[in-house]
């Protein structure tokens, strides 16, 4: 391993070095500054005689006399089952004053793509205990379902609630221990504030979830470039636990917006041709390489379910970050500012939310036979009620037909009873669907055109309409 003191240029997070031997693309580099500090970096560009290095911990203090060592390998994550219960920094070093980590193996953090032929289609229902998710945007094991939120919205509370409550209902008669249904949680924080980090840590500690968690912390004041590595470390650990050790892993990544900002920063430093809003043209591919690491694999016990969180700049869903994310992930959960100010907890707006894998995870034998119909009908009815709200503002309620008034009432009750539940309540799927039926029974039977007749017969409650009318 040679050492070079041939730095020719330092700009932003990039360092250019002259070399006299070939250096591999993506290789890891150590740079020692004059005062003895060591920084790590990665090769971004390599040509004979010259390489460009991106330094994770920032370039402050590096000068042209600093010495550069090429380690001859790409970045690796030391993995072991003992990582569970540990807190690491954004580069994977322990910061919880626990014992040294003795790795079973060191894994390349870039990770190879899962062969689409080897994937197993995700269809195991995960009960999150949140009605707006379980009932209408069902999460399944192996899915990647992001939370689209905005600044100042309680997405962290929602993520914590999911992490706390998520379980896979054991099928009756399968027997065995119930412990299996719990998830190992990998938490990757990118550029969140210390306060937010404390919120997460307190909750993990309070609920005992930390024992089955691995926490990666890149805080707001940690180097931005490091954020490009943190999720890869987290996902490499997740892959090891899921596909080597058989865990069902839930990966929470927050905040993807900070990750993308870091990408843009590096792109700008490299003087690349920028894409939309200055984000690099390869951001879609880059994000896909993270999100696509969710899934299940044939013949393997474990699974990786991803819940990335991102804050949409000025709540704009067409901003490149949520936009590209939505094209890759299997749906999205939308946290809504309006509902939040109404005091709805969690303020999930089901209309723009979506779970693409829902249809295969629900129904007879999985959740309940009426699940699909109830969900579709709730959607259609709430959408209709929402539409009418604009009209009411103009003409007033009296000018509307009875049918319209019915839908307005429905929309109101839907928010108050179905979406509203508080962060500490966990509802099982039967309870969720029953609330759905309570609400649907406010509408006359013939309006329920998305549900099979048998299900209407079984679940429709004749008395509710009268109840509401009497109010």
């Amino acid at each position: 391993m040679k050492e070079y003191q041939t730095i020719t240029e330092i700009s932003g997070p990039l360092v250019h070095v002259e070399t006299d031997e070939p250096i591999g693309y993506d290789e890891i580099v150590e740079i020692e500054t004059g005062d003895g500090q060591t920084r790590r970096g990665q090769v971004l560009d390599t040509a004979s005689g010259h390489v460009a290095i991106q330094v994770f911990e920032g370039t402050e203090g590096i000068d042209t006399d600093s010495s550069v060592r090429f380690l001859g390998e790409t970045m690796k994550m030391p993995v072991t089952e003992d990582l569970l219960g540990r807190v690491l920094d954004g580069s994977g070093n322990p910061i919880d004053s626990g014992p040294d980590i003795v790795p079973d193996e060191r894994r390349d953090i870039v990770g190879a793509a899962i062969n689409p032929y080897s994937r197993e289609y995700p269809e195991d229902f995960i009960q999150t205990g949140v009605s707006a998710i379980d009932g209408m945007n069902t999460l399944v094991r192996g899915q990647k379902l992001p939370i689209f939120s905005g600044s100042g919205l309680p997405h962290n509370d929602l993520a914590l609630q999911i992490a706390r409550q998520a379980s896979v209902p054991e099928e009756e008669g399968e027997g065995g221990d119930d412990e299996d249904t719990e998830f190992a949680v990998i938490f990757g924080a990118m550029g969140i504030t210390a306060e937010e980090a404390n919120e997460f840590m307190d909750d993990f500690e309070r609920t005992g979830a930390l024992e089955r968690s691995v926490v990666f912390m890149n805080l707001a004041d940690d180097p931005a470039v490091e954020r490009t590595v943190t999720p890869r470390l987290a996902l490499t650990t997740a892959e090891y636990l899921a596909f080597d050790k058989g865990y069902h892993v839930l990966v929470i990544l927050t905040d993807m917006t900070n990750y993308c900002e870091a990408l843009r920063q590096i792109g700008a430093a490299r003087e690349e041709v920028p894409g939309r809003r200055g984000y690099p043209g390869y951001m879609y591919t880059d994000l896909a390489q993270l999100y696509e690491r969710a899934g299940r694999v044939k013949g393997q016990e474990g699974s990786i379910t991803q819940i990335p969180i991102l804050t949409m700049p000025s709540d704009d869903i067409t901003h490149p970050i949520p936009d590209l994310t939505g094209y890759i992930t299997e749906g999205q959960i939308l946290v809504d500012r309006g509902l939040n100010s109404q005091g709805i907890q969690p303020p999930i707006d089901p209309l723009p939310s979506l779970s693409r894998l829902m249809d295969d995870g629900i129904g007879e034998g999985l959740t309940r036979g009426d699940h699909g119909g109830v969900s579709d009908q709730l959607y259609a009815a709430y959408a209709e009620g929402e539409d009418l709200r604009d009209l009411v503002n103009i003409v007033g309620r009296e000018a509307l037909s009875e049918r319209d008034n019915n839908y307005l009432d429905f929309a109101e009750e839907f928010e108050e009873q179905f979406v509203q539940q508080g962060y500490d309540t966990s509802r099982d799927i039967d309870e969720t669907l029953d609330i759905g039926w309570d609400l649907l029974s406010m509408l006359p039977k013939p309006e329920l055109n998305r549900i099979d007749e048998e299900n209407i017969e079984e679940h429709y409650r004749e008395d509710v309409e009268a109840e509401v009318a009497a109010d």
């Binding site: 560009d45 390599t46 190879a112 899962i114 894409g275 896909a288 696509e292 939505g326 000018a399």
Partner: protein
């Protein structure tokens, strides 16, 4: 991927620099678009730029740890696919490596690097039946025999393009592998089942015809309002969550094509898995055999190397052309062409080319039109007729149709199915917006529908379009004053439009019956709504209040026709129409 036939080892080049998927090499003796093997691991790549002694290569695999100084080996031939029996019921990556074979070879669920495999099984034997006799003269493109490739499809063995042709001197039935000679010509040329063809070059044809037959899709809104022709081109643009992939998959399942080539270009892994899981179990509505028996899948998911994403649409359309040459109707779905365009953009920006609109390369429009022009209804060289219908999904950023990929696609394709996120939010699926979509094939396909489905097909459709147009205008008024302020005949129009939307345009892709709707049923459902409209208008004119008309209990049954099994539809609709008539007439 095809094995290079030319095994002469060229002079090796040496890697000069590595930046993501783009590698430059010096001293490499290669032509533009030649396939090369890069580095110690032998990663596959393609030459995309030559400047003096410096050759630029896009690499189809991850380039981590590849270093300058490593060798680059040329193959002397351009990126080609293997054509022959065994392509159906297969799943390939973007450079035609069979993913099931890769799984075996790599022994892992994760895609390793530097592993190659032939596109079709070289060991397997096929039962060959000659279709020409010894002594007959054949030319390039002619069919000499066939093998049963799958229960649905006979694979024709053809004289490769470029052959001189001549008299057949020996041809015999029997079991052969794809590399064994099945026929010899007096020119000394030998014919095997396997051919190779460079993907970026269209296979030769005689002539292109104007398509006059619809590619029926079993989707009411498509067949009924915006039909696609066999040999036509269509685009499905839509923001995420609007149902592009579901629409593409429905087409792949139910379109009445002989062959379906489904290209998953830069999309989700689980979606491809769903196709792989579902298709073997689903019956082909035309033949009753498993859908996979007519399907070739190409899966280059978003996390697989970006350069292979760029090539996967070419791989797909070349395979489609091969089946077209046999005289089959092929439907090709590319999901999504935006990812393909982005792959071009990514490679282009690594080459530091001068960007065009939104960073896309200036040749974006040319590439798109070259691709769609390979579709069409063709007179083949061998006298058969075959077609390729190309359906491209487009994923416009932020759902904004003014972006370059959508706009350049719209300039070429003749059918436009605009997906709408507002409809999707209301769970109105397929979320195809009836105001924005169009099909320029409508008029040339009408004779077919008139002859094969119903005489008044065009008139009935026009009626539906008129009602929907009127509904669109009325809805604006309703937004301001409410429905009850409208005159009664307009309220009726709103009600009828609601049934057109709910009972006819909406279709449940997950319902066992409703997911496929034959054109006859499409016609009957709309007919039932139309007859309700006519009867209701009469009743209204006779002074019956609108509430009583819409309140009759037969009307909601319109919504149930879609889920009524195909063989019971006629009876169901007859009865329903009679009930509506009776109930309405009893009101006055």
């Amino acid at each position: 991927m095809s094995q290079a036939t030319d095994t002469t080892v060229r002079e090796d080049g040496v890697i000069e620099s590595v930046s993501g998927p783009v590698v430059t090499a010096t001293d490499l003796d290669a032509k533009m678009n030649d396939v090369v093997y890069v580095g110690e691991d032998g990663l596959m790549g393609e030459v995309i730029e030559i400047e003096g002694n410096l050759t630029t290569i896009q690499v189809y695999e991850e380039t981590s740890a590849v270093a300058p100084g490593e060798p680059v080996e040329g193959t002397g031939s351009p990126l080609s696919v293997d054509l022959g029996p065994g392509m159906l019921d297969s799943i390939y990556d973007g450079v035609q490596r069979p993913l099931d074979v890769l799984e075996d070879k790599m022994g892992s669920a994760f895609l390793d690097r530097g592993v190659d495999a032939p596109g079709i099984d070289l060991e397997k034997t096929w039962e060959f039946t000659p279709e020409v006799e010894e002594g007959e003269a054949v030319e390039a493109g002619d069919i000499v025999g066939s093998v049963p490739e799958t229960p649905s499809i006979d694979h024709k063995v053809m004289v490769p393009p470029g052959y001189e042709g001549g008299e057949v001197v020996s041809i015999e039935p029997g079991d052969f592998t794809v590399e064994e000679t099945v026929a010899e010509l007096d020119t000394g040329e030998e014919i095997q089942m396997r051919q190779e063809w460079p993907v970026r070059q269209a296979r030769p044809t005689e002539d292109k015809q104007t398509p006059t037959e619809p590619l029926t899709s079993g989707q009411r809104i498509l067949d009924g309002l915006f039909p696609l022709a066999k040999g036509g081109t269509a685009a499905i643009p839509g923001p995420f969550g609007s149902g592009k992939t579901v629409a593409q998959q429905s087409l792949a399942k139910f379109a009445d094509a002989d062959i379906v080539v489904y290209i998953g270009c830069g999309e989700r892994g689980n979606e491809m898995t769903e196709v792989i899981d579902d298709f073997p179990d689903l019956p082909d509505p035309q033949t009753g055999n498993a859908l996979m028996a007519r399907t070739c899948l190409i899966a280059n998911t978003s996390n697989m190397p970006v350069a292979a994403r760029e090539s996967c649409v070419y791989t797909g359309i070349t395979i489609a052309e091969h089946y077209r040459d046999m005289g089959y109707d092929v439907a090709l779905m590319a999901d999504s062409t935006s990812r393909w365009a982005e792959a071009m953009r990514e490679i282009s920006s690594r080459l530091e080319e001068m960007p065009g609109e939104e960073g896309y390369p200036a040749y974006l429009a040319a590439r798109l039109s070259q691709f769609y022009e390979r579709a069409g209804y063709f007179d083949n060289v061998n006298g058969t007729e075959g077609s390729i219908s190309a359906i491209g999904a487009v994923s416009p950023p932020g759902g904004d149709f003014s972006e370059p990929v959508t706009q350049n696609t719209l300039r070429i394709v003749k059918t436009f199915w605009a997906l709408d996120s507002d409809l999707a939010e209301k769970r109105h699926f397929p979320a195809i917006n009836w105001d924005d979509s169009y099909s320029l094939y409508r008029d040339q396909l009408d004779p077919w529908f008139v002859e094969n489905v119903a005489e008044d097909w065009p008139e009935q459709r026009q009626w539906a379009i008129d009602i929907l147009d009127e509904d669109g205008e009325l809805q604006e008024v309703v937004q301001l004053v409410g429905k009850d302020a409208l005159p009664e005949d307009q309220q009726l129009t709103l009600e009828v439009a609601r049934f057109i939307k709910e009972a006819w345009l909406q279709q449940n892709a997950l319902h066992d019956v409703d997911r496929y709707c034959p054109p006859e049923k499409t016609y009957r459902i709309l007919g039932a709504i139309q007859s309700f409209n006519d009867e209701a208008t009469d009743a209204l004119n006779a002074g019956v209040p609108i509430d009583e008309i819409t309140g009759i209990d037969a009307v909601p049954r319109l919504n149930r026709i879609g889920t009524t099994p195909d063989d019971e539809v006629d009876e169901f609709v007859d009865e329903l129409e009679a009930d509506i008539e009776e109930q309405l007439r009893s009101l006055y």
